[in-house]
């Protein structure tokens, strides 16, 4: 069974946010990577692009499928995880850490309150029939 770090915020689309001041690091959850299977390609945006909460900012692909990535909170892209272009498999091996996708400047920290915390997300996944 997957564990979901307590310091992260989680979206219904199975992305997480780690908040450090104004900066948010975004990735997909352990549950999402398990559902997806072996990740073979990640497409991420260039720095400087701005998105609203819920916007698609890229995609992650397994052998079988393409899944859109949705930004949990609005912000401007500061950096994409360059190591994913050569080693996309770290999304599977370390989804909540080295497998992060983008760092953003969070536009409105108030939006974080609309996201789930660890226990709540764990229950949400269970409800979806995932665990």
């Amino acid at each position: 069974m997957a564990t979901y770090p307590e310091d992260l915020y989680y979206s219904k689309d199975h992305e997480w946010v780690r908040v450090d001041g104004e900066t948010g690091t975004i990735g997909i959850t352990d549950h999402a990577q398990q559902q997806l299977g072996d990740v073979v390609y990640v497409e991420l945006p260039a720095a400087g692009t701005s998105y609203s909460a819920g916007d698609s900012f890229g995609s992650v692909e397994s052998v079988k499928a393409v899944s859109e990535l949705y930004l949990p909170v609005a912000g401007e892209i500061l950096e994409s995880n360059a190591s994913l272009s050569d080693t996309p498999e770290i999304v599977n091996s370390d989804p909540h850490g080295a497998g992060w996708m983008v760092r953003i400047r969070i536009k409105d920290a108030g939006e974080l309150s609309g996201l789930m915390r660890s226990i709540e997300y764990g229950a949400y996944v269970k409800e979806e029939g995932g665990e």
């Binding site: 299977g37 072996d38 390609y41 497409e43 692909e61 079988k64 393409v66």
Partner: protein, 366 residues
């Protein structure tokens, strides 16, 4: 109502992720498409293909009927042999692709795609009236299990007294697996050596479990639909509904080798003769993407600044570790080495037309 194969419970017990495919509940994967794909290339994989349809033709004119219905030469097919073939409509479009198993001149089994079984059966019935034969959809009676990979023969050999090493490709015979009578052919949909096993559905679980246990020392793994798709794509085997359908001809699809225009009349023959005379305007080609972004089914293809086609099957290829695909391209853009572009979410990524099959196994003998 979703249909279940006799192995449904086994898939769930093995951790298979069940999805709906052509009206059937089937596993898309167990351990994952990559390890399953690699197991088939390097040792062995086991597939439940019980969803495939089996139509049996019996009677004095059974061979004549199937010969008229399909493009390959059924009259010169040996008893206990099988071949790949297609049924065409009058325009030369493909009604379905199938395997014909000849038991005798008076008894043949046509193995058709799951999603087209009802359409195919209706098509066969509608053309059978002039022939002295009976056409029966016996799909519900059969289970089909495929064991594929370089270790397939050795695993199956341990379970049957019949000697398999001299059994040529595309032959079949009735053998006993742990006392269960099965019709087994040396054939498959993966590009590897292997066998397709037909048995009464009530024995499917017994045969499946025996093969898994017997093969465990050789690394056999159960394989789902995802691996089946990538394996067949690497070997450029057509998928009905994607690469071929009612609007594509065997000649365009590169399946002309299965068409015997000189054998006598068959449905669609005149259309193919006209196509051959006039030349083809498009061809199904294989391409390799020169980018990390995989090409997917339906993506548009550009050449010379215009959209010239669509990807019919596209995927990362786990064994070749490349992004590959198939597409119909205008003949002028179809030569090996031609540069094309694939539109991936609005971005044009470079690709090149390559020789197919993408993957061909090295044969120890033949």
């Amino acid at each position: 109502m979703i249909k279940k194969t006799p192995l449904n419970e086994a898939h769930k017990a093995l951790g298979g992720r069940m999805v709906e495919f052509a009206g059937w509940e089937l596993p898309v994967q167990y351990s994952g498409p990559i390890p399953e794909h690699m197991a088939v290339r390097e040792s062995a994989g086991l597939f439940d293909v019980s969803h495939m349809g089996e139509v049996e033709i019996r009677g004095r004119q059974a061979t004549d009927f199937v010969d008229y219905l399909t493009v390959n030469d059924v009259r010169s097919l040996d008893d206990n042999a099988a071949h790949y073939t297609m049924m065409l409509n009058e325009n030369g479009g493909i009604v379905d692709d199938l395997l014909v198993y000849r038991i005798s001149k008076y008894h043949l089994i046509l193995v058709v795609n799951a999603g087209t079984t009802a359409k195919d059966f209706a098509w066969m019935k509608s053309h059978a009236s002039g022939f002295e034969c009976e056409v029966a959809d016996n799909s519900p009676l059969y289970a089909q299990i495929a064991i594929q990979g370089p270790k397939a023969e050795r695993i199956l050999q341990n379970l049957t007294p019949t000697l398999l090493d001299r059994m040529p490709n595309f032959t079949h015979q009735v053998i006993e697996i742990d006392g269960v009578r099965c019709r087994v052919s040396r054939s498959g949909y993966t590009g590897e050596d292997g066998f397709e096993i037909y048995c009464d559905r009530s024995y499917a679980m017994q045969v499946w479990n025996l093969l898994l246990v017997e093969g465990s020392g050789d690394g056999i793994v159960p394989c789902g639909l995802a691996a089946r798709n990538t394996l067949r794509l690497e070997s450029k085997m057509a998928l009905y509904g994607n690469d071929i359908d009612d609007t594509t001809s065997p000649l365009e699809a590169g399946l002309g080798w299965a068409v015997k225009l000189d054998k006598g009349d068959f449905i669609g023959r005149a259309a193919l003769q006209a196509q051959k005379r006039d030349g083809l305007v498009r061809k199904l080609v294989g391409f390799e993407v020169l980018d990390r972004a995989p090409a997917r089914d339906g993506y548009e293809i550009v050449a010379g600044g215009a959209v010239v086609g669509r990807v019919t099957s596209g995927s990362p290829a786990p064994f070749l570790k490349k992004n590959i695909g198939l597409a119909y391209l205008p003949t002028e853009h179809s030569a090996v080495g031609t540069s094309i572009g694939i539109l991936v979410r609005g971005r044009e990524v470079p690709a090149v037309v390559v020789k197919t099959p993408f993957y061909k196994r090295v044969r120890a003998f033949d």
